[in-house]
Symmetry: C2
Subunit: 139 residues, 2 copies
């Protein structure tokens, strides 16, 4: 497990450092879509002491390397998640929860490539609405 993390970091052409390994492990352990602050607290909880600036650095590097991805979910602090399969996000406008929405069932591109004046390399979709638990709790 832990070995594969160091392997992935090395494969990405990055130096294997305590901070990077711990950041990925923490993000994996926490699961979901986490802010830099949550990750920093997670690191502290695991006994890994890292400077705030380092958490920003590390996550930025890992995101550039593709080991973690920025979970676009609209305004608010940037959220990161462990890079897995291609998916989008459903954001509840009431409780703010973010859930993954699988990208097209056929595994292909879920959105028609739009006609833009340039070259699209990445498409992100944010579904907004009310999640089932908020619907249930709504009076």
């Amino acid at each position: 497990m832990s070995d594969s993390v160091t392997g992935r970091i090395r494969n990405a052409g990055l130096r294997v450092t305590r901070g990077r390994v711990a950041a990925i492990e923490t993000l994996q352990a926490l699961g979901g879509h986490r802010t830099v602050d949550e990750i920093a607290r997670g690191l502290t909880g695991r006994g890994v002491k890292v400077a705030r600036a380092t958490v920003f650095n590390v996550l930025g590097d890992l995101a550039t390397a593709g080991l973690v991805v920025i979970a676009d979910a609209g305004p608010g602090p940037t959220r990161y998640e462990v890079a897995t399969y291609d998916h989008h996000h459903f954001v509840c406008t009431i409780c703010g929860s973010i859930t993954d929405v699988p990208c097209a069932e056929n595994g292909g591109q879920c959105i028609e490539p739009a006609v833009v004046d340039g070259t699209v390399s990445n498409v992100q979709v944010i579904y907004r609405g009310v999640c089932s638990s908020c619907e249930a709790g709504d009076t």
Copy 2:
């Protein structure tokens, strides 16, 4: 022109105030996708003096009322634009420019309603890539 702005505000059930009218007019005059700061400077340029907090308030209210919309374009300050037709955004990862991408040519829903655990009320798509002018200028 100006009358229609006051009309729209009133129709939305909001009081017609100097700040609200000026904010919409300024956003219309500036065009595009503007940050609170740009709008505040635009207001100052027009001789309308408003507190920073008011600009945040006003834009928040107008957005809630649907008179302006938040132009989701990933990290960075929130950007607003005058509510027009349904469209998405193409963000250049080099120069940061944001261009509108019309929603499906047939005028209908451009994205399949995804299977989510709740009710989707709104879908926003962010296309990322390199705009044509950056492609041209790229050596």
